[in-house]
Symmetry: C2
Subunit: 362 residues, 2 copies
């Protein structure tokens, strides 16, 4: 089983400067690379403390590429609606080469009204821009003398440089939250899937994931070759009570920033985002107690967290947890502790060889 880490910055300038956030994040990446984590992921968001420290995930991952040797770099995700496909395909191709083929490209539609407004993009064009952007990137990566006649962009013949490192192109992932069409479409296309389970009931997410896997098979892609990354906040101490006590502050902080960023949904309805007008309401209903009770995060001592990981695997099958080990305005040492404890005490229990004989921990 693979385990990745996932940066969703949720800090404001008066809490942590950009320089401090990146310094700490890069140190965590370096250590994660050494400890055997599988991937490092970062979002694309703007303006708000919720994600705003990463308006360009490729810039951050280019820095990570020079601090790590083997870990995969994943955009989680880039937003075609806010990026010209030539620009997007070009910088991703640079990153694929800078990292010697360690790039995974996650694409998303975005969902915050303030971001669409700033880029003067209609939310009702969200899916069309997303699909066109991905298709254009794929052609720019795999073909020469590309002529593109899309709804939003027309260009060519042009040959993108540099050519991508991975052949035929870097793996493509789709970020999906709750729209069934997104799950089905991703499976049909043969793309991998990045999901965020803490916003949904496990039953609902299981159903959505099944839609994805069914579509994958129905389209004739090799069964079992699909990959799924699932985001979880993670906070571990040697003492489980301490972990639960300490993590509350950062989870509440993270959710409060999410609610602030999503406020635009209070006055917005979009056909392409059915139900999103209830986002703030849904977020307000998320309590820390329910996050713990429903295993929507990995919080506790190593034994408890290992049990939580097993539960998730039982629910969803073989997925790659993508763990937010820093969330809200968390001190670096606490994120580093989670990283170390998980690698030392939890990860070994999920290595192929260890499955038959789980090492008891005291």
């Amino acid at each position: 089983m693979k385990f990745g880490i996932n940066f969703f910055p949720a800090v404001a300038p008066h809490e942590k400067s950009g320089a401090q956030f990146y310094d700490e994040a890069l140190a965590l990446c370096e250590r994660a690379d050494a400890l055997g984590y599988s991937s490092v992921k970062i979002v694309e968001h703007y303006f708000n403390p919720y994600g705003g420290y990463s308006p360009d995930p490729v810039t951050f991952l280019a820095a990570v590429s020079q601090r790590t040797r083997r870990i995969r770099l994943i955009t989680g995700a880039v937003i075609p609606a806010f990026n010209h496909p030539i620009k997007l395909a070009g910088k991703l191709a640079m990153l694929d080469n800078l990292s010697h083929g360690r790039l995974d490209v996650g694409f998303a539609r975005a969902f915050l009204p303030i971001e669409f407004d700033a880029f003067q993009v209609s939310m009702d064009e969200s899916r069309a821009r997303f699909e066109e952007g991905i298709a254009a990137c794929l052609r720019l990566w795999t073909e020469e003398n590309v002529v593109w006649q899309g709804r939003f962009h027309q260009f060519g013949p042009v040959t993108l440089l540099p050519r991508v490192y991975q052949q035929p192109h870097p793996p493509v992932w789709i970020a999906a939250v709750s729209t069934p069409q997104s799950f089905e479409w991703a499976g049909w296309q043969g793309y991998h899937l990045m999901i965020v389970p803490y916003l949904s009931k496990h039953e609902d997410m299981q159903r959505l994931l099944q839609l994805y896997r069914d579509a994958w098979r129905a389209a004739g892609h090799p069964p079992g070759a699909e990959q799924v990354q699932m985001s979880f906040h993670a906070y571990i101490c040697e003492d489980g009570e301490q972990a639960r006590r300490e993590a509350r502050e950062y989870m509440d902080d993270y959710l409060a920033k999410f609610i602030q960023a999503a406020a635009g949904w209070n006055t917005r309805v979009s056909e392409q985002y059915k139900g999103y007008e209830k986002t703030v309401e849904q977020l307000r209903a998320i309590t820390y107690e329910r996050v713990l009770a429903d295993t929507k995060a990995f919080i506790g001592d190593p034994d408890e967290v290992a049990a939580q990981v097993r539960l998730i695997r039982d629910y969803y099958g073989e997925v790659e947890p993508s763990m937010q080990i820093t969330f809200g305005n968390m001190p670096h040492e606490r994120a580093l502790r989670t990283l170390e404890l998980f690698a030392q005490h939890v990860m070994p229990r999920f290595q192929e060889q260890a499955v038959s004989t789980p090492p008891g921990r005291a």
Copy 2:
């Protein structure tokens, strides 16, 4: 006197992969950082071997930021016409933080028809987009709750994250080639200047530079605080004859790729690019012998190159040569030799000239 290095990739996929080019460039940056070079710069270009390996200079410089400790990182240049200002200001702010304030931002108008066509931007809007893009970035860097009502973009109120590291903002540089208006405007605004002398006669470039310095003073900016970077191809061997013999191939290669990229000018006229319709003709007139005879490049043994640097200083006053130590399809070892020999034998002769230039208003 300060000396920087300057990457203008001019290689095709069948010559060097992107991965090889970046590996070599990053190794040169790491060494340049240790040897006391002042800055590392890279272009923004697309599609052609001429510059095409750098469609996003910020991606490359983000990688450089983690391989170096003190050298300044300069976009040479980014193109507002091809980048949304929110995107551009955001990734540059990330780079400023990733590098702990080592970023210099060079902006340019771009000049290749194929690039404007691909982004569906009219060359006749070139100056307006350039000026609007710079102004929008400056406001996003220095103000909160920015409302932007421009000709090409409208947004706000938004507050860019992360906030820039350097206060009030990273130094701003303007790339200018031959349009007098560009030189005057840069001086008037109080921006630093990046120029490419090998396309012009020295007398013409001296005159243009004077326009810049005059405008700088007339606008009330502190005399002498303006900074000028000047691009030179550089190739050094212990034996001057060998240097001249070997460099010819790479200079011819570079110019041939430039001519290929500029071919779009054969069928284009733009009021905002007066005279550019003769670009290919002018490039064809550049011979290697004239480059040498007119000191349009630093080529020779260390003594000869030191004399060339002195001559340039006599022509233009205190400028920072920004040296292309790799051009065309040059083997890495040859670029590295130039870097080492220049640092060892040429740079020390100009150390007594070193002035600590205060960070510009820019």
